[in-house]
Chain length 196, copies 4
């Protein structure tokens, strides 16, 4: 039983517990006790490491963003050309890590909470901007500037839209279908350009 160097382990456990608690409850209204209980520690310890509840929530959100960012970088690194860059971005957003019920629910919840939390809104804006620029690095070479912008905007909305709809459905996430529909949309927009 190591009694030293516990901090990073506890922090991680608490963040994981937060995600799963929020995901299951589908609400930021989870109590600190609930979270701490899931992490196997006392509520006091959660405060010890994170300060107030809001701080734990923010840390959790940052964790989610960081994870997504890591996945994205990895996927983009292996994409050979512009078109496959775009697909990589889409794919990552619906990857098993991201598109599982708990995480989706947590994301959604944060989206809503962001409406009255400047800090959360700031974090989400960063994510939105990054998603946009990642899409643009691919689309920018396939479509005229202005059209690429609009397509990126729609693609981002589409992804968010599938997240929302995912949250309302029971059963396993149908990532395959979501990816197919987004790709279909992209194909339509890109081909439309090429062919007429």
């Amino acid at each position: 039983m190591p009694k030293v160097g516990m901090e990073p382990l506890r922090r991680r456990a608490l963040i994981d517990a937060t995600i799963s608690a929020i995901g299951e409850r589908g609400s930021l209204d989870v109590t600190m006790s609930e979270i701490a209980g899931r992490a196997g520690v006392s509520p006091a310890l959660a405060h010890h490491y994170f300060g107030a509840k809001g701080d734990l929530l923010h840390a959790t959100m940052r964790h989610l963003l960081a994870e997504l960012g890591r996945d994205l970088r990895a996927a983009l690194a292996t994409a050979p050309d512009a078109r496959s860059r775009v697909s990589a971005v889409v794919r990552v957003n619906f990857s098993p890590t991201q598109f599982q019920p708990e995480t989706v629910a947590a994301w959604l919840t944060f989206y809503v909470a962001a409406q009255h939390s400047p800090e959360l809104r700031r974090l989400l804006r960063i994510y939105a901007r990054r998603l946009h620029s990642n899409l643009m690095t691919g689309l920018g070479r396939l479509l005229p500037r202005n059209e690429a912008e609009r397509t990126a905007e729609s693609t981002a909305a589409l992804i968010d839209g599938f997240y929302i709809r995912r949250a309302l459905r029971d059963g396993p996430p149908d990532a395959g279908n979501a990816i197919a529909l987004v790709e279909e949309f992209l194909a339509a927009r890109i081909n439309q350009r090429k062919q007429p």
Copy 2:
């Protein structure tokens, strides 16, 4: 002098107060006192008319759905052909009544809350199904069955996506841009069919 016939007025005032409170707070965490205060009555009266808080929330959601339904019916009634039926559906979802910050925030909030409220989920499913079938009455005549289904699904996701993104932005809603992007998407899908 006991006032008579106050019930419908109070109910309506309370529902309106609920929408604006939720919209402003951006959260279902509004208190009964807050809502009652906005409606100019005591919290006790809200309970008198609606029972528990959850009941008031459900009634509010039903009200939102009913309003959207009314708008939709009105718009569809004047649509001359299949293509314009589709556009009518899109237009209504971004109409000034629907796409204003308060209402958008309320919708979003309900979406999230639906994750742990069977009743709310049931109501949202009804809405989703209606949206889908309304889109299909138009798309079904413009595209092959299967493709129409997929397009309807994507369109619905796109609309939801713009709602989410609207909630994160400050300033006035840009309904025009949202409509334009959705129409662009529809055009690409429909033209793609026609031309190649």
Copy 3:
């Protein structure tokens, strides 16, 4: 059992409970539960009427000051001349209402708490200023300006000093002794002027 118009009764009961709780505990660390319990209501009701704990404490302090002010005005109203005005001020400060263990303890506690509460300090300053000016209306006619000022200052300190010492002693307050000593001091100062 009157169920209406309870507010003033509850407020008063809560303030009285606060005084006695603080007096008995000898510390501002009394809990809201303790106070509410003494007043025969739930802690929630205390919050309902006073807001936060600090607000109840401030209200209590204001009550103490108001009571002292009332007693003072009454005593001064019947004082025929300058010398008896001064004695009246002294007498009131050691009157049975003021100089009882509970009240003394509450005063002391507030004094200490004032060190880190601007609002409490503000209230105590008002009291100090009033005590000073009340003493001056009498002393001003018996001694030269400057000497009157100094005597008022010392008298006030002397009164406070007896309060402190009272708080440390057990048994009944010996108001008579305190008054006698203050009067002795005053006599010495005033006679000193007259005779040499």
Copy 4:
């Protein structure tokens, strides 16, 4: 390398930290963490050396009393006659070491806390008795027994009174004025005896 002989240093550092913490906060509500932090050690160490929080507080009070006692002895040792012994006692109580904001605040706080701590009360009684007897060694030779007693009592109250008033004022302590007023009081009492 385990450090040896740290105990007395830590104890002293912790007591000093306690005084300054209480003085600054103006309340016994300082936390062990706050105190330990100021002393540059962990809260656990404070417990290690002093046991419970109350023990540290008592030790601190004893330290304050011991310091005052040392100052007093030193001052009395150089006082040539009875009158100057009295002045020495007064002077020491308002010496820069004693009459600085932090120490005054700590004293006051202990006074109040003594109301519900037998141990603290015991300590304060010792101080009060010593102050009284020190004053009496001087006054006893200048005034008749009974009058000397009463004067000692008033003088002690006056000193405490100036301490209280000091705590409510901002800015630097005006020890000079306090001493002058106490001396004025003593002069009045002693001269009154001599002259009439």
